[in-house]
């Protein structure tokens, strides 16, 4: 694949891919590492992509595998001393602080301010893993129900059941937050 084609592909997809990764990992640093792996795999695989599944579905599978591989990585392969830049660029902390903490979410809480988007994101952690995955796919990744079925291999009824529960819970959490 030539340079220009891949650049065009990145322009179109980079935000979606990053968002897909970031919503499933705890830190921007992890998201960046995984994003690099995913983009390399896409670069090597895009030419052989035959459109058997939709591109978005294929990317989702790559992302899921890359995240799983990343967290299977042994501790000595983590880049412990690298400085981490957060989304707003306001705070830098070495990555070891994030990994070494006994509660990663509370460490993340300390860094993040109380923006609306973050609140929603944290609320999704209160969902069950399946509910969180379907909620993320539907509302953050922008998958249709059909695409969700293709991507996960689950039937529509199963997906809808989890999604209904997830949305109901999220509405309740939002209501709690607003009171």
């Amino acid at each position: 694949m030539d340079h220009t084609t891949f650049e065009q592909f990145l322009d179109r997809w980079q935000n979606d891919i990053y968002r897909m990764i970031r919503s499933r990992v705890n830190t921007p640093a992890d998201a960046e590492d995984i994003m690099q792996d995913v983009l390399l795999k896409l670069y090597r695989g895009l030419e052989s992509f035959r459109g058997e599944s939709r591109l978005r579905t294929w990317i989702y599978r790559l992302v899921k595998n890359a995240i799983a591989d990343y967290y299977r990585k042994p501790w000595w392969k983590f880049d412990w001393v690298r400085e981490t830049t957060f989304n707003d660029g306001s705070e830098r902390r070495p990555a070891w602080e994030q990994h070494a903490g006994e509660d990663q979410l509370s460490a993340l809480d300390a860094v993040l301010d109380k923006e609306q988007g973050e609140i929603i994101l944290k609320m999704t952690d209160r969902l069950s893993p399946a509910e969180k995955e379907y909620f993320t796919l539907r509302f953050f990744d922008g998958f249709s129900l059909q695409q969700m079925s293709e991507a996960t291999g689950h039937n529509l009824n199963t997906i809808k059941t989890h999604l209904y529960r997830a949305v109901k819970k999220m509405k309740m959490y939002l209501l709690e937050e607003s009171q």
Binding site: S23, E32, M35, T85, K160
Partner: protein
């Protein structure tokens, strides 16, 4: 989402609209059109989700950094020789090795010399050496070389015709003696 809990009918329709979106039933869409409460809740939920999506989006600096790192890794790959070149070289080396391995026994037999059986010795000789030492007594110095050789030396013959001549001589000589 900031108002009080809606009725169960509104709640169900709102859920359906959120989950199914455009595939929600026509009744739900009609309800939405007529219920400002549900419209407000739906808009509020979508606004919150959009805020989360914005939060999850990368900054342009982040993307520049990621893209730079990816290109750093891709460029050595694209400069590398095509896959078939090392494969071709390996095949060539392997082929030569096999060829040499198969040819080696033939070469070694030639270095070690021919087998010691008579036929092979005969065939491989450049000139024939025939021992006739015991066949005839001495001859005169004026005799032709091959007759001198018959007296007790080694006669070197160049071809089969000379051997025939020699044999004829021997037979006729023996005949005269007897």
């Amino acid at each position: 989402m900031n108002s009080g809990p809606p009725s169960s009918s509104c709640e169900d329709r709102l859920l359906e609209l959120l989950v199914e979106d455009r595939q929600a039933s026509r009744d739900s869409h009609e309800h939405l059109a007529s219920c400002p409460e549900c419209r407000g809740q739906l808009a509020s939920f979508r606004q919150q989700v959009d805020a989360a999506r914005d939060f999850l989006a990368p900054s342009s600096l982040q993307m520049q950094r990621i893209r730079a790192k990816v290109w750093e890794k891709i460029e050595p790959e694209s400069r590398r020789d095509p896959w078939w070149q090392p494969a071709w070289a390996s095949t060539l080396v392997l082929g030569l090795f096999i060829l040499l391995t198969m040819a080696a026994p033939f070469k070694l037999s030639r270095i070690a010399g021919p087998d010691l059986d008579g036929a092979a010795l005969y065939a491989s000789a450049d000139s024939l050496e025939v021992m006739v030492d015991q066949l005839l007594p001495g001859t005169a110095a004026s005799d032709p070389p091959w007759e001198q050789a018959l007296s007790g030396g080694i006669l070197e013959v160049e071809n089969m015709e000379q051997i025939d001549n020699l044999l004829e001589l021997l037979v006729s000589d023996r005949g005269e003696q007897t």
